[in-house]
Amino acid sequence: MSEILSSEVVIVGGGVIGAATAYFLCKEGAEVMVIEADDLASGASGACDGFVSLQTKMPGVHLAMALESARLFPSLAEDLEVNIEYNPCGGLMLATSQEQMKELRARAKALKSGGLEVEMLSPAELKEYLPEVGKGIKGGSFCPQDAQVNPISLTLGLAQKAQEMGATILRGCQVENIVVTNNRVREVHTTAGNIHSRRVVCAAGIGSNQIGKMIIVDVPVLPQRGQILVTEQRDPILKCLVSGAEYLGTKANIPELLPTDEEAAKLGLGFTAEQTASGNVLLGSTREFVGFDSNTTPEAMNAIARNAMRFLPWVEDLDVIRSFAGLRPCSPDGLPILGTVKGVKGFYLATGHSGDGVCLAPITGKLLSELVLDGETSLDIEPFSLYRFK
């Protein structure tokens, strides 16, 4: 403990957001230290699916940010030494009622005016993307810009590249306190010793509230549990991402798209499916507020499997080999919390991505790097300010 540690920037959290922030800061030559309480991608980044979904974003700043992020993925895929399994496969959102079709159509219009390519498909037109769908499917919307990625590889790849550029990554290191004097961050006290630093980025996901308390700032991030099933490996059977309109309903809290079944509503059930590069199909998912409990439950596993069969009847023939749950850092309005805090210079928030962390990681990392080093960002992040909630 006698060694005195110091770093130009300290990033709290070794998830995809922390890793992306480290990567972009290192690209600019900054000296970076990442502090991770457990291990890289041990939280939500390692317990999610690989959706890089643009059509689920809210038209406006949210979509604009996602579009910027999507543009960064191909160059990351090239630059990182780890294969992040980036696949610009497109994404399909299916409707099970005419009401949902109507809502998707209205949204498609708004998304299009925000610069996204979205196409409405009839049940007959769906066949081009999905040869076999459930009888109750009334059509859907297709977004060719949707993509998939391996979130764990993405996190590890970003961290590894950052490390190669000089970043230090402390695993199994917990932040105990953040010392602020004269309205500026000065030191981060950790289980590995005290670190002198004038700049601290909080990318702690569901731990952000606890980190915020250290500088007496309330960061309104709550853990939201998402459960996912993993099937056996199969030859390619899904050409694109697939989701149900209810997934968007529970995600963005759109009343017209919420599940009508009582149990499904309680679980925040929304259908998602993707086939990973290794051939497993990930079936999702739930949105539950159950504190920090990251266990899977038999009720949700059953509900997810049954729900998936409504959309893709053939999943009945797939064996489920595993289930897992992740805790998404959820903000009150489902949008990330980015930027500085009042009264404490050198403290930056990059959290609350509410299930969009993987999709928004590249742009978040880039914007945070700009904010920390230049004090201004290439995209206006004011709408994501912590103070929008007050």
Binding site: E263, P298, N302
Partner: protein, 357 residues
Amino acid sequence: MALPAYECPMVVVGAGPAGLCAALEAAEAGIRALVMDENERGGGQLYKQIHRFFGSRHHGAGKRGFEIAAEMVEGCERAGVEIRLSSAVLGCFPGGELLVDGPEGVYLLRPQATVLATGAAERCFPFAGWTLPGVMGAGAAQTLLNVHGVLPGKRVLMVGAGNVGLIVAYQLLQAGAEVAGVVEAERGSRGYEVHLQRVRREGVPVYFRHRLLAAEGDEGVEAALVESVDEGRVRRFRVDALCLAVGLVPQAELAAMRGCRIAYADELGGFLPWHDREMRTSVPGVYVAGDAAGVEEASVAMDEGRLAAVAAAEDLGALDGARAAAKRKELLARLEGLRGGPTASHIRRARARLNAG
């Protein structure tokens, strides 16, 4: 849409020697246990054992494994124990629920007591060619032979000269296969001398201080490369099957999922659910027995199953303290006897370490 759920006093996962004995002991205490097993037949690994067992009369000495299995299954039937076969326990959730996939469909069990007697899995290690058809665990070869009546290969190399490797090598010979050799990295066999001599008498060479390097072949195993540890000389065996008998690993997944503390004991197969002498895990209401509690022998598994049931019955109030203590004393004494020999000194050491914390 909701899963059907059933309450029950006790569920035993695994219908091997440990699980069946746990159910029998529970029945004696007046608890009707439900035994779940993913296989089509009860008896666990005993079912495929055609050799005679050693041990004491309590454990069916002198009988063949499948006979012991049949007797235990019949005993359970007489005692009113329900054994649900082809029923896989998929998960053990924090609330204690067990998720079952059986012929009736998928359902939940909510037991007051759970005995995990899930047995062990064959250990494997990676080497060049290890995914070729024809490479298999010795236990898998034994299942093919004794349960399905299928010869795993015409000419087989056995890796590992412990009891499993030696017994399966001999059974391969009995079934008409040629055994090219038994390869063992150590200086001697950990198995019983009688099994070693029987294989040698049949003219099968046993190569001590040799290790497997690779399996070769296009569509399946065609040859195995084996190296002498001391001389470095590499020998090529033309074989069409390669059996690995390099140990067993406790199947601790359900216990881990339930949140039971996991301990490590190399001598007992590796990671296993921590448990006290009475087979209680760190989670109240969850007990462990048999190879899942550390790889030993079938007779140990039987008595551990009974011990686990005594603890469960006592905790459920079906056995009073004095009767439980008396039963436990007898079972622990028997286990001490089973673990008494000089070849079990490493087991005794590991057990002492485990019990100490």
